[in-house]
Amino acid sequence: MEKSIVWMVLLSMFVSASESRETPKTVQDACLSCHVRQQIPSELIYRRYLMKYSTWDRIEKAMFAYLKEPLQSRSIMPQQFFLKFPMKEAAETEEKELRREIRAYLEQFDIKKKLVLEKI
């Protein structure tokens, strides 16, 4: 429990940095504004999805499934997370729009954009 709190505090330090970049308006409205308010770093969530699902298509599929029907078993976050934060409500956005927003989200935090080769 104490470990989770420390982890949350540390994460929150990066929230404003990651969230300050320019993002599509719909993603901002749909997700980030709540995330910023609740200090849940979106990039970290993306990294967790990346670590579990690897490919863009699999991440999109998993995220869509969770957003449409949020369940703890579908969540990328650990159990302890839900001791602090309530389960989100199901997204009411239309499927096509939701998928578009997910893609925008992934596009924003795409790991390939950050990777650079070391200079020798």
Binding site: F14, A17, S18, E43, R47, L50, M51, K52, Y53, S54, T55, R58, I111, K112, K114, L115, V116, L117, E118, K119, I120
Partner: protein, 384 residues
Amino acid sequence: MLRSEKRSLARFLLIYLLSTFLLFSLAAWMFYSSAKHHLLNRQQEVLKYRSEQLKSTLRALHQSNAKELVYPNDPVVKSAIYDVEKKYIFGSLQPPQSLEYRDEERLYDVAKIEPYYLGAAYLLVSKTIDHAPVAQLQKNILLFMIGAGIFFTILGFYLGRLFIAPMRESIERMNHFIQDTTHELNTPISTILTNIEMIETFGNREEQSEELKRIEIASKTLSRIYDDLTYLNLNHQYHRQIVRLDMSRLVEERMVYFSAMAKAKGLHTVLDIDPQVYVEMDRNDAFRLVDNLISNAIKYNKPNGRLEVGLDNKGFRVKDTGVGIRKEDMDTIMQRFKRADKSEGGFGIGLDIVSQVVKSYGFELGIASQEHKGTEVSVRWKKA
């Protein structure tokens, strides 16, 4: 070296060296394959180690919030990461290639990553094969083969000469035998022809008996040579007929047979032949035994010397006052074609025949000799 000897040696060397070379080549190839595999494995281990290091780096990068995630770019070991569907994500291995692609000049190692740091499910590491140790291995093996080749060539040459040595000796003995044969046969033949010519030229006269005697001696000599050679040549095929032989009568007959030869040399003959001495043996073997001992005693006797022939139930002996046998020749005097004294004619087969007969019947042969004094050869019918 004779031509046949050279040919045999060359053939032996060829087969020997070829088989040795093939065997060594096979062994060298097996060793090379194993050693090369081991060398490449060691290089592969370096890759595996580097792969583990990179996994740690990927984990660190995944957890980093830096603006830029700097992917390591080792100058020697290149790498790339692939997602769970084996699609290329990023890497230092350029140009980007599929996970299954292989270059013959490079070593590869694929490691699975879980969880998927940076989305990577596979980590491919690769480095150029270092051929230097393999080249050194090839050089060492080649040097070894050359060294072994030189060594085995020399050894083969030496061994070949060793193997051929008995053949060479046989050939030399045969050559001597042929030379002696032509000489030995030539003498009695010339004697016969000369004396026949004299008889034809000078017609009937009393002295003809001398010519006839010489013809007789020469003919008997020819006959004896023929018998000895036949005995040697066909001995293994000859079917012996063991009979109860009257040795007394046989020895007396042979002495009559050789009387002309002994008289021609002026020998004083002393006979000490017991009557009714019987021996179980083949008649032809008995002839060979008695004839060779008596003819040797006559041949190697001094002119006007003494010839003693004795026979009793214990054995047979012949003694002469001839040139004798040197001490150093005593051990080898029985060898075929061995002639201790080449002053007289002969092939050196007489004592060899005597020795064979003695052995086959279990008799005992004794030779006592003194150089320039004479020789006594004795045969005991039964071993003591």
